[in-house]
């Protein structure tokens, strides 16, 4: 059992949620409530990571942030470190790969709040910020939770992007899913088996948690 890899995986999952959830709540709400030109294109772009092979995503990430690209060089000059093959780079790529998993459920969650409810909140004297915190977020809460759990579970299982962008550096970019592949290559079936079982248990546990939580939140909705 590669505990370091498990730790990297969990950190990557938690980090991806930490980055994406605020973004998803802002952007999902925007897509839910606003009408603007090119909305269809934006919605399509949000969904792209869902249908693209992770290797394609990784490829473009490397091209965009590689040491030879202007963006990559700018980042290196600024931070003193390159993005590819670091945990930070992996986190960034993972966030991009998970955009649809966060934005879409949250968008649906906000869309389910009727315009009348939002208008009523405004007529109760609530400022836009108070409306968001006291009315919209509590009502969209099950969707936000679903988004977070989906992202976490999906990040744990991510393989293609990790291998392309992160390589396989222990303690840095070797996640559990990559470690399993690694162990299999070395004919270490036993270690691979233990780690695979661990991932399976985590996956089932998160899904059970989602269902339980959504049931608990569910009856509050009319």
């Amino acid at each position: 059992m590669d505990w370091t890899a498990l730790r990297v995986s969990l950190w990557l999952g938690a980090g991806t949620i930490a980055i994406l959830l605020p973004f998803g709540m802002w952007f999902g709400r925007l897509l839910a409530f606003r009408q603007f030109r090119g909305k269809l294109l934006v919605e399509a772009l949000v969904t792209v990571p869902l249908v693209l092979p992770p290797t394609v995503l990784g490829f473009y990430f490397l091209v965009t942030f590689g040491a030879r690209s202007p963006l990559g060089q700018a980042f290196q000059a600024l931070v003193g470190e390159s993005l590819p093959f670091t945990f930070e780079g992996l986190l960034f790529a993972s966030a991009i790969a998970n955009v649809p998993f966060v934005v879409q459920p949250i968008q649906r969650g906000f869309e389910a709040i009727s315009a009348d409810i939002r208008d009523a909140a405004a007529c109760c004297g609530l400022t836009p910020w108070q409306r968001f915190l006291r009315i919209e977020v509590p009502l969209a809460w099950p969707s936000i939770l679903t988004a977070a759990i989906l992202t976490f579970a999906h990040t744990l299982g991510e393989f293609g992007v990790v291998l392309m962008v992160g390589g396989n550096l222990p303690g840095q970019t070797r996640t559990l899913s990559v470690a399993i592949y690694d162990r299999m290559q070395a004919f270490d079936d036993r270690s691979a088996g233990v780690m695979a079982a661990t991932l399976l248990v985590i996956a089932v546990a998160t899904l059970m948690a989602t269902t339980a939580l959504s049931r608990r939140v569910g009856p509050r909705r009319a």
């Binding site: 009348d116 909140a121 007529c123 004297g125 609530l126 400022t127 009502l139 009319a222």
Partner: protein, 373 residues
């Protein structure tokens, strides 16, 4: 309930725009008055309420409440909804589904200190007779109860205008009657302008003091309820609900054994079917024009109870209708009578002529009963 030191609490509204929702209205409503905006569905009624609340921004708008300017497109002034002291009761109530009845009301109490909110919410729920349901969520409440929560929530903000959008559309007839009476009671204590949007004529005659008839976003006619209901020329109203004078009267005498009550109004006395009303009770009376018969001489030996002498004040013949509307001044009340063109010629009816209006006691509609003070 509460008193504010604003000398003038009139709401004045001017809205103009060619589209996408055409609007062309200008009206004012004083504290204590109920302005009913009445017209067919899809005529822009709700848009007017939304514009008052700041939820909709028409191309040209001037909305003033007392000394406050909420919107003035010419001056570039626009206050967002949360800065306007409006109480808005939405058609489907729009209660917050994740909050209890008390929680819904407390949401609108942000202007009060935290420790007062609970008591204030309880007091408001008590006012709408919902004390024992305060811990329930909207989906556990009946339609009428939800409406009451919505009303309590709208009042919680201590609004300087109360807006009601089709408030009785989603409840059945018996509940509707009770809610109408309660709102009628309430508005007497509130002393703020109340704007009621409805497509139900009964809401208008039971609750309104003033009426604005709206057709495709344009005000067709506006004025005090009794003045407007005595106009013979409102063809749209005639087509929709039929014309008929509306005025207030009070119970002056009772004859339970005859099954009758005598009503005093600003033009004399009327006999109406007994409704078990106490002496001094104020009732709103509607006399449909179709039910009024005109005679040039006082008839004898007729079964009907009411023979009111008056003067023909106007005759309105509209080519779109077969019958003619005759307006008769009885004291200060203007009655309407719908008669055939033949009758006009036969009786030689003309403005200024003395006539008798004959009305059956059972033809008199008694609405909006207000007990003696």
């Amino acid at each position: 309930m509460w008193v504010r030191d604003v000398p003038e609490r009139r709401l004045s509204v001017t809205l103009h725009q060619p589209g996408p929702i055409p609007l062309d209205v200008e009206f004012a409503c004083d504290a204590g008055d109920v302005l009913a905006i009445f017209g067919p569905s899809g005529g822009g009624k709700t848009t007017i309420l939304r514009s008052i609340a700041g939820l909709y921004r028409p191309a040209h708008a001037a909305v003033r409440s007392g000394a406050d300017t909420w919107a003035d497109t010419d001056a570039g002034t626009f206050a967002p909804p949360h800065r306007r002291a409006v109480g808005f009761v939405f058609q489907e109530y729009a209660l917050f589904p994740h909050l209890t009845a008390a929680g819904n009301v407390m949401t609108a109490l942000g202007h009060r200190p935290q420790h007062e909110r609970r008591d204030r919410a309880d007091a408001l729920l008590n006012l709408v007779h919902l004390t024992e349901r305060s811990g329930r969520r909207p989906h556990e409440l009946s339609g009428g109860e939800r409406q009451r929560v919505a009303l309590a929530r709208a009042l919680a903000r201590e609004p300087s205008v109360l807006l009601l959008d089709e408030p009785f559309a989603a409840v059945d007839r018996t509940v509707r009657r009770r809610l109408q009476d309660e709102i009628d009671q309430l508005r007497r204590t509130l002393d703020i302008p109340l704007i009621l949007v409805t497509h139900d004529f009964e809401d208008v005659v039971r609750l309104a003091t003033h009426v604005l008839l709206l057709e495709r976003g344009t005000s067709v006619a506006a004025g005090a309820l009794n003045t407007l209901m005595s106009r013979p020329d409102l063809s749209w109203l005639r087509e929709a609900v039929g014309l008929g004078a509306v005025f207030d009267a009070s119970v002056a005498r009772r004859w339970p054994d005859r099954g009758l009550i005598e009503l005093a109004f600003e033009g004399g006395m009327l006999l109406a079917a007994d409704r078990d009303l106490a002496m001094g009770t104020t009732v709103r009376v509607r006399i449909p024009a179709r039910e009024v018969i005109l005679a040039t001489r006082e008839p004898e030996g007729v079964s009907l109870h009411n023979v009111l002498s008056g003067t023909v004040s106007a005759i309105h013949a509209d080519p779109a209708f077969d019958h003619v509307i005759v307006q008769v001044a009885v004291g200060r009340v203007l009655l309407l009578a719908e008669v055939t063109r033949d009758a006009i010629g036969r009786l030689g009816l003309a403005a200024g002529m003395r006539v008798h209006a004959l009305i059956k006691s059972v033809s008199i509609d008694l609405l909006a009963v207000q007990p003696p003070r």
